[in-house]
């Protein structure tokens, strides 16, 4: 090889390396700029009373987001109760019986649903639950979030079920254990760490959704009156406060955003830790 060619290769190599490194840095930079910006604006308004108080009446400065935090937790919890069993059991079905056209169609539908804009799902819940019941309700919000959650849980659970070696299932079947028991007591426990991780990631994803809640859970400036009534949620508070004309509300929107981001981040980190823990346990 001639020296000139070698030099050219080195230059191209160097260029490509810098390019990829620059793109990586750009990716990370966006994340950190967002985080930094939120913390910069949010930390100022964040204190204990902000977390423990109800919102003040419009016009009065101060107040907190206690009801929104509780509301978010309740709406997301109900969404998980509705969505997780459907997603997990659906994944079991796909994994066991989905090696045909039906399986292909279900997977494809799940991926389409996954790509569906969340506001469309909100409209769907509005038409299907809010209008017939003639009321905004936390239930409708949870249902919308559950619909968003199902395809995520379905696909991630199926991925992790797929990672369970066929030899384990065969070991169970060869002992004369019925198929459903093998799935329930051998296959799912072996994939449990991963399944839980997928569930947590889906939960942190829906915890940050605001669009599907706007015309379902609607929001509420007080403690909620149960599942069949409007309920506050962090993303709704952020949305309402951010588009308001009041300086003090902008401040609170930042602080609420910071709380939400921290919670979602914590969920993500927990999910990763669990994943590692789960892997470790099955390797131990």
């Amino acid at each position: 090889m001639t020296d000139a060619r070698l030099r050219r290769r080195k230059i191209v190599n160097g260029l490509m390396f810098s390019l990829t490194a620059a793109c990586t840095i750009a990716c990370l930079a966006v994340l950190f700029v967002i985080l930094g910006y939120i913390v910069y604006h949010g930390a100022a308004a964040l204190d204990w009373s902000f977390l423990t108080r109800l919102p003040k009446p419009v016009g009065e400065p101060g107040g907190g987001i206690a009801n929104a935090m509780v509301g978010s937790a309740k709406i997301v919890a109900l969404a998980a109760v509705l969505g997780v069993p459907v997603g997990v059991l659906g994944a079991v079905y796909l994994h066991e019986f989905g090696h045909n056209r039906i399986g292909f169609v279900i997977r494809y539908a799940a991926d389409l649903l996954n790509g569906m804009p969340s506001i469309v799902i909100g409209v769907f819940a509005y038409g299907l639950i809010v209008l017939p019941m003639k009321r905004f309700s936390a239930l409708a919000g949870s249902a919308a979030l559950a619909v968003i959650m199902i395809p995520i849980v379905l696909r991630s659970t199926e991925e992790f079920l797929r990672l369970v070696p066929a030899s384990l299932r065969e070991a169970g079947l060869a002992l004369g254990v019925p198929r459903w028991k093998v799935i329930l007591l051998v296959v799912i426990p072996s994939a449990w760490g991963g399944i839980l991780t997928g569930i947590l990631l889906a939960v942190s994803r829906i915890a940050g959704e605001s669009a599907p809640l706007i015309f379902t859970a609607f929001g509420n400036r007080f403690w909620d009156n149960g599942w069949l009534n409007p309920m506050s949620a962090l993303p709704l508070t952020i949305y309402t406060y951010a588009i308001s004309p009041y300086e003090d509300w902008h401040r609170q929107a930042w602080a609420a955003a910071m709380v939400l981001v921290l919670v979602v981040l914590a969920g993500n980190v927990l999910a990763r830790l669990l994943m590692r823990g789960g892997r470790g346990a099955s390797n131990a």
């Binding site: 070696p165 066929a166 169970g172 079947l173 060869a174 002992l175 093998v182 072996s190 099955s282 131990a284």
Partner: protein, 255 residues
């Protein structure tokens, strides 16, 4: 050709099986005698695993398989039996040790009983101890029964899998190359153990290792390209084979 001191507990009659495109085994006729060890030998890809999996219908776990012919367990066609009940009578040990990773040693052995909710006269602890003793593993693990099964060595894991299969008290135990992932010492232990188990149950073993077949089996079937070329007493197969292809294989001329 038969074994005058025992009877055929399991029998393949005109058995053919395949994976969608063509047959992997063709028209296999074979007897498995009660409380005897039968070895199935033959070059890679000749259909040994396919045959042995048909014997407790584990082939059904591979999508697209089809079977013709009959396998009879005590004169009952297994293809008309409930596969779950069949597999409690005809257990299987696989090539790679596959203990349940989420379970302790104890629970692995007891798994068949726990998962099936079977509780006989004997306590779980008794069954586990007996099975581990039968698998010549008890002394090595008796102090760590509650440790994860994956902490054991490969050879120990394989004996654990044998113990697990024995715990449900099958009449027939199928082993598909049980020693191919093991070193010679672990292999010797398993061979010894099979010879001891012969008093209690019928053993069918696939092996690549002709010395192993000669050492442990009473009967041997030699397969080639999906056909059972020759089946007979192990000493006869290895000393005076009738088919020239068997002769070639056992003298190492091919395969």
């Amino acid at each position: 050709m038969s074994d005058e001191r025992t009877y055929s507990i399991l029998e393949a009659r005109g058995l053919s099986a395949g994976y969608g495109s063509g047959d992997a085994i063709r028209n296999v006729n074979m007897h498995f005698y009660d409380k005897r060890i039968t070895a199935i030998i033959g070059p890679s890809g000749c259909g040994k695993s396919t045959l042995i999996r048909c014997l407790n219908r584990m082939h059904e776990e591979i999508p697209g398989t089809q079977v013709r012919g009959v396998v009879a367990l005590s004169e009952r066609n297994i293809f008309h039996m409930d596969p779950v009940r069949l597999r409690r009578q005809v257990g299987m040990v696989f090539q790679r040790p596959n203990p349940f990773p989420t379970m302790s040693i104890f629970r692995n052995v007891a798994a068949g009983l726990i998962l099936n909710g079977l509780r006989g006269e004997r306590s779980l602890a008794e069954v586990v101890e007996t099975s581990l003793r039968q698998a010549a593993l008890f002394d090595e693990v008796k102090d760590k029964l509650d440790q994860p099964a994956l902490n054991l060595s490969g050879g120990q894991q394989q004996r654990l899998c044998i113990a697990r299969a024995l715990a449900v008290e099958p009449k027939v135990l199928l082993l598909d190359e049980p020693c191919s992932a093991l070193d010679p010492i672990a292999t010797a232990k398993i061979e010894e153990l099979l010879l001891q188990l012969k008093d209690q149950l019928t053993i069918v073993m696939v092996t690549h290792n002709m010395q192993q077949a000669a050492r442990v089996s009473d009967w041997t079937g030699f397969m080639l390209m999906g056909e059972l070329v020759e089946f007979g007493r192990t000493d006869e197969i290895f000393t005076t084979p009738r088919d020239p292809r068997t002769q070639d294989y056992i003298t190492g001329r091919f395969g």
